[in-house]
């Protein structure tokens, strides 16, 4: 199916009005959509470009609260020094995503709305407990990212609704990290993991762990977090956390790896992400 029109709204209101009409489809960086259209997986008729919508274009801080517009190219987020410092797992995930050419146009909004179980930014954003701002012609609402994904390629977004921003709170004393394994540098992850911890008096007071590409959606591992919280961040605790991963994931076999391989490597990636997060939180050499 061919595109009949290509619209370039400049305001959120205009984008929502054109995007709400029959057969309309939002396009941001187009790095998922243009590939899907080529392989006939998308029957889009009317594209509504988000690239010029002013409300989606900014990176804004209010004290420790960060708001990233859904249509900011990943390269812009990756180049932001304060994001690299306060949200290193997100910066690491972006550095691992695609190529320079892809990151120059691809967006966070697109990575999340495409809802691939392997979306690289999702585990990091889950570990940071990101909230998602959604707009429709009636107003805006906010949902936790852990409630956003409903299955492979599907989210809570209703037709015509826009993801407008990703909202994050910096935890100044936390350490965090992202780990991923791919076949080659430029390929979707076979599996990925992100971890965030806070340590006080040699006890883990706060832990968040999430994984990608090993379940129908990117996944928070609450049971692993519970094992860590209140314990010393030492070898035995990490071993328990690592051992708990297998029961929580449901990987499939595909062209990138077998389910069995994914079951072997995911606990290791979780442990490595935790180790990196712990050494950052405790100020060890990085």
């Amino acid at each position: 199916m061919t595109t009949l029109t290509y619209q370039r709204p400049t305001s959120l209101r205009e984008a929502l009005e054109t995007g709400g009409s029959d057969g309309a489809r939002f396009v941001s960086g187009g790095t998922d959509l243009m590939v899907q259209r080529r392989s006939g997986r998308s029957g889009t008729e009317n594209l509504v470009s988000l690239r010029r919508v002013e409300e989606l274009a900014g990176i804004d801080w209010k004290n420790d609260q960060l708001r990233i517009g859904a249509a900011v190219p990943l390269a812009g987020i990756g180049a932001d020094q304060r994001i690299a410092r306060d949200f290193p797992a997100l910066a690491q995930a972006i550095a691992a995503l695609g190529s320079v050419q892809i990151r120059n146009v691809a967006t966070l909004g697109g990575n999340l709305c495409n809802a691939s179980p392997a979306a690289d930014t999702a585990p990091a954003l889950l570990a940071y407990e990101a909230r998602i701002e959604i707009a429709n012609t009636g107003g805006t609402r906010t949902v936790g990212l852990d409630e956003f994904f409903t299955g492979p390629g599907s989210t809570v977004l209703q037709p015509g609704e826009l993801l407008t921003a990703i909202l994050l709170d910096a935890r100044q004393s936390a350490g965090s990290a992202f780990m991923r394994l791919g076949r080659v540098r430029m390929d979707l992850a076979i599996a990925s993991a992100a971890a965030l911890v806070e340590i006080e008096d040699n006890r883990c007071t706060h832990a968040r762990v999430a994984v990608g590409a090993v379940a129908p959606t990117p996944l928070r591992l609450s049971a692993v977090e519970e094992i860590l919280e209140g314990k010393a961040p030492d070898g035995p605790t990490l071993a328990k956390a690592q051992a708990a991963v297998d029961a929580l994931i449901s990987p499939i076999s595909d062209l990138r790896a077998s389910a069995r391989h994914r079951r072997r490597i995911t606990p290791v990636l979780v442990a490595r992400a935790l180790e990196a997060a712990i050494s950052m939180a405790t100020g060890d050499a990085q």
Binding site: T3, Y6, G30, I102
Partner: protein
């Protein structure tokens, strides 16, 4: 059909294009600028790399109507803008065996332009990262890295 007005290699350009066409179709088929190559058509190989508003993008993934009001630089614009032969970066590819069959070369050169504009003296690792999205089936990449290093060490980022 969409009418788009944009700057191509420094010249104001008006074209009429189907809304479902990609930038590479606009360049090659509508405007006859065939320096930009199509390899995979899926963002994997980088042969189609051009600069839009100064940043390297895959023109096979870029909707043609999106160039409205923007600046596009293609491989044709490197030599043309000087009016006297190849740019130093292009010459460095020739001098250092950075091109064999030549199919990947326009994309490699444009990705290198993007790199050298932001980082005048890249390390080997910087170059490798910058070319993650560019495949070459001939050279084995080493000569390409050397070409870019040669252009960079000829002081000013290799463009002028």
């Amino acid at each position: 059909m969409n009418r788009v007005t944009f700057t191509l290699n420094g010249r104001s350009t008006v074209a009429v294009v189907d809304p479902h066409k990609r930038l590479i179709d606009l360049l090659r088929d509508t405007l006859g600028e065939t320096g930009t190559k199509e390899g995979c058509g899926e963002g994997e190989c980088g042969a189609c790399t051009v600069l839009v508003d100064g940043r390297a993008v895959n023109s096979c993934l870029y909707p043609a109507p999106e160039v409205e009001g923007r600046e596009v630089l293609t491989i044709e614009g490197l030599a043309d803008s000087r009016g006297k032969g190849l740019s130093p970066l292009q010459q460095a590819f020739l001098d250092n065996g950075g091109t064999q069959c030549g199919f990947c070369t326009p994309g490699m050169v444009m990705a290198a332009v993007d790199l050298l504009r932001r980082n005048e003296h890249p390390t080997r690792a910087d170059i490798q990262t910058a070319l993650t999205g560019n495949l070459c089936r001939c050279t084995g990449y080493v000569q390409i890295f050397e070409s870019i290093e040669a252009a960079a060490s000829a002081t000013n980022g290799g463009e002028s």
